[in-house]
Symmetry: C2
Subunit: 157 residues, 2 copies
Amino acid sequence: MRIIGIDPGTGILGFGVIDVLANNKLKMIDAGVIRTPVNQEDFLRLETIYQELHNIIDSSKPNTMAVEKLFFAKNVRTAMSVAQARGVVLLCGRQAKLNIYEYTPLQIKQSLTGYGRAEKKQIQEMVKVILELKEVPKPDDCADALAAAITHAMIKQ
Amino acid sequence: MRIIGIDPGTGILGFGVIDVLANNKLKMIDAGVIRTPVNQEDFLRLETIYQELHNIIDSSKPNTMAVEKLFFAKNVRTAMSVAQARGVVLLCGRQAKLNIYEYTPLQIKQSLTGYGRAEKKQIQEMVKVILELKEVPKPDDCADALAAAITHAMIKQ
């Protein structure tokens, strides 16, 4: 199974691709971000996300997508912007015929650390340990996307 | 100028197409809704919206899109769902090379009635009067979509 994890956002969208190996070990295949200019109109930024995400899926060939799902945010304007991007992400995944799963931050924290109130830094450290990386992937959005992918691998094992 | 107005939503999405005639009168060309089943996964519902909206744009051939923009909602879960659909709507408009404009409920109320705190029913009555219709278009989502299109026509005149 090859999983692409997504941390949605309009200004910066994180993605991380992992393989579930025969021994149930997880291996990082790719990780990165899609950035869009802050001064651009939403429809242009969403078009960029759509095109770039399709390119990433075409080249890394996952069969499964794990997307972080957020129901609450301190800043409603930011939450709306994230949700618009997530709409486009789900559409891309569907058009690429991926199996799509959504996980809340609570589910991701619990899967990676066994503790629903874990700090962001603990999650990132666990991503490094689980994937046997030398460093925590940067920027944070990459690590968050990988955490969503790892969550799916752990829940489905 | 032919304008398609959109009232975004995942369960029901309203659209309304109007022409701005040479004498600046407005004429309704089409109006309707896209419905998706409540028990379906978001990614399936967003795919339906994407496909149907592209079909509607292909057949009604607008050059401009006016989308209702919402920053606040009593129910965050609903707001997120509406924003996901709006992400897909903006993407469709961009892919169809439409000029895209977003209007808040306040702007729509002020344009149609001159009064920012107008009731929903007053807006719908104004849609009927301005477009010289025999009845208020039903369901409400159609009338709201036409109101967004009318707002663009009035602001740009």
